[in-house]
């Protein structure tokens, strides 16, 4: 179900000014790009006061755009960054919507400092576990998340496996890693 009509977009712009910074309506799944710090306002409007109530957050994904292979890195057009993708679904109108947000790979480009984005747990409580998984596997810090801990990897695991430059640790509690 694609998001019908730019009319809906104008209502979104009117309600949450200067939040939508990009769009692509011709893609297979049309999406709009939102400024990371305004994500909560957009989601709150979409879930609570939009004509089409997006009351269900289906999935949050973090894509690590970094080409580690030097040969291919030369031909790459985009700068290394992290992209957050939110898939929303409206049970009443049976319509889906895709929100994207661009984040730097490391906060202020200091390796080890996780990029930050406000948490949407306030809007949908289901986001709690999704955001914990993205933090655990991709290393994105969700500010305002009630209980941000690793969910899939062990509590004291280091590093974030789904990052392109992730190195498997040599051993973990005596178990050989590589």
């Amino acid at each position: 179900m694609t998001m019908r009509g730019p009319g809906f977009l104008d209502q979104l712009d009117a309600a949450v000014p200067a939040a939508v910074v990009g769009r692509n309506l011709e893609a297979i799944d049309p999406w709009i790009e939102v400024a990371p710090e305004r994500i909560v306002d957009v989601c709150a409007w979409l879930a609570k006061s939009s004509p089409v109530r997006f009351d269900s957050l289906q999935c949050i994904t973090a894509i690590d755009w970094l080409e580690t292979d030097p040969k291919k890195a030369a031909k790459v057009t985009w700068q290394p960054h992290t992209e957050m993708v939110y898939h929303l679904w409206s049970t009443s109108a049976r319509v889906s919507l895709v929100l994207k947000a661009k984040l730097p790979r490391w906060k202020s480009d200091v390796p080890g400092e996780l990029p930050e984005i406000p948490s949407v747990c306030g809007v949908w409580r289901g986001a709690n576990w999704h955001e914990r998984e993205v933090y655990d596997l991709s290393g994105i810090w969700f500010t305002g998340h009630p209980d941000l801990r690793r969910i899939l990897c062990p509590e004291d695991w280091e590093g974030y496996p789904l990052r392109k430059d992730y190195e498997m640790p040599l051993d973990y509690h005596g178990i050989r890693g590589r």
């Binding site: 297979i28 799944d29 269900s56 894509i63 895709v98 949908w124 289901g126 576990w129 899939l152 496996p161």
Partner: protein, 402 residues
Amino acid sequence: MAQMLDDDPRIIEFDVRTDEMLVNMGPQHPSTHGVLRLVLRTDGEVVSEVEPHIGYLHRCAEKIGENLTHRQWIPYTDRMDYLAAMNMNLGWALAVEKLMKYQVSEKARHLRVLITELNRIASHLVGMGAYGLDLGTFSPFLYAFREREKILDLFEEACGARLTYSYITVGGLTADLPAGWLAKCEAFLEQFEPIIKEYHALLTTNAIFVKRTANIGVMSRELAIEYGCSGPVLRGSGVDQDMRRDGEAIYTAMYDGYAFEVAVMKNGHYPRDHDYPAVPADAVLGDCWHRFFVRMLEVVQSMDLVRQAMDRYSACKGPLGEPLKLTEKMPAGDAYLETECPKGQMGFYLVSDGSAIPWRVRARSSSFSNLAVAHELCRGCLIADVPAIVGSLDIVMGEIDR
């Protein structure tokens, strides 16, 4: 007098009020489906807080997906929800076909419906049997597995495997059905019809079963939607949503022309296409009993779909068509598709940079969201209710941990 006691140093006042106890249910617990660890904070028998700990079966299939081509990743989707591997394969295959705008042959489409609906019956049988086991009755588990064995025999003849098939792949199916397979499938459906009535008598309308499940773990519509629950868990709360009817165009196209009614309680009653037992008096919409009952309805619904798919499959003349080459290049871009799996809506998100190997693969698991709501339902219930509630969510750890 009490005042005097307070400042008397010799009297040591132990805090003997009922202290709460932290109890670990799992990960090696007979009633948690697979390796799930539930930390219960209990006050005597009453559970005040449940905290699920997952990740014991985490194999990071998504990281592996970034090094394999789309067809090579199919066996990994088998291992996610290993009780309904066909539906998983279908989900991933459709996601890639959506990105590549590839249309499979009509015969392949009907065969896919036939196979995935049979797999749904097998998955619900396991769900029903395991739920009986959670509530303490052992026999239905074995009856369910006896019937499931027959379905697995059919799958073994079709694709050679009994649990992780990799039968449906990108661009069609790896092989066509052997001769005589349809007759065997018809025979199975024939003898399976009366047995379903037996299961209803054994569990659904059993007084003790109703007493253990009715009005327990009641989930409201809003809570279910807010937590992103899906499938029988969502329909058990009365939300009329089924991806086979409301999903993406490429997925609903497979079910065009199939007559089926979504198994949900609409304006006070369940679909009446077959004679189902009545809803017991003290069962509230959204409780464990309704989730279980929706699954039982879907088994009958899937049997009808399989029959229609068999007729359409034998009717169409064309060849089955070959699946795509192993290293078929994908156009750059991304695609997300959710299919209706037995446990709920399983979504596959695929980001491609133009080569045959996807840049990023993301599997959105239905049991992951269904389990997330468990701590809301188990607050204030008894210890014996925790397996009943978690069992009614019908979770599979392979799918949650990926």
